[in-house]
Homo-oligomer: 110 residues x 2
Amino acid sequence: MGATKSDQFTKGQNDLASLAKALGHPARIAIIEYLLKVDSCICGDIVGVLPLAQPTVSQHLKELKNAGLIKGNIEGTAICYCIDEEGFEKIKSFFDHITVSLSKKKFDCC
Amino acid sequence: MGATKSDQFTKGQNDLASLAKALGHPARIAIIEYLLKVDSCICGDIVGVLPLAQPTVSQHLKELKNAGLIKGNIEGTAICYCIDEEGFEKIKSFFDHITVSLSKKKFDCC
DNA sequence: TTATTTTATCGTAATATTGCAATATATAAA
DNA sequence: TTTATATATTGCAATATTACGATAAAATAA
């Protein structure tokens, strides 16, 4: 035991959980916030911004990329990372759906 | 090492990460979807809906509750769980902020 | 009172995540 | 070519998560 029973849930549930999981670490939230703050998506200085060692940052970037939340291109000796709007669209539509449901129903019995 | 360096990040970053992390499991996504689907927030049959054992479901419910995404009241021999709108508001405002940022800037260089 | 029912907690095994030193890879500059 | 610079990968230790059987707790029903 111990492994998530992914095959027992729908693809939609697993996809959403993967996106949320990728955002479930303060370092990765910080990376996204930094990408939103800087004007360009060239961010060769991302390692210097975070309180973590270079391999650790590289790993977090990889996870965000795998989840479809950021995109990266080789740019000479540096890597150009930027927001992947597609991934964020998926999460946003989930929360928009929740907002609509909440406005229709009354969940104030608790 | 292996423990998350939470103290190196801001409270806002940690709070957001905690909320996202709580949604980072398909079973917890399934629980939220179920709560949105049923008309009432009385959900004594939540264990029967999920492909997991009762203690595991109880644990997932506890995590959602700790994260502030659901609320629970003792209701006789059953527990009444329902959506906690406050938690979802926090996440939604984060994604709304991202959407605004994305519409202002061009992240299409990658 | 003694069942019965429902949810929570404990204990533990299996697996996953986090973090970093060491090292590899790749491009640019000298 | 050699050197410098930047990012990726490997390997491993520390910690966290996931899942469930066993058991406890709490309220209702008989």
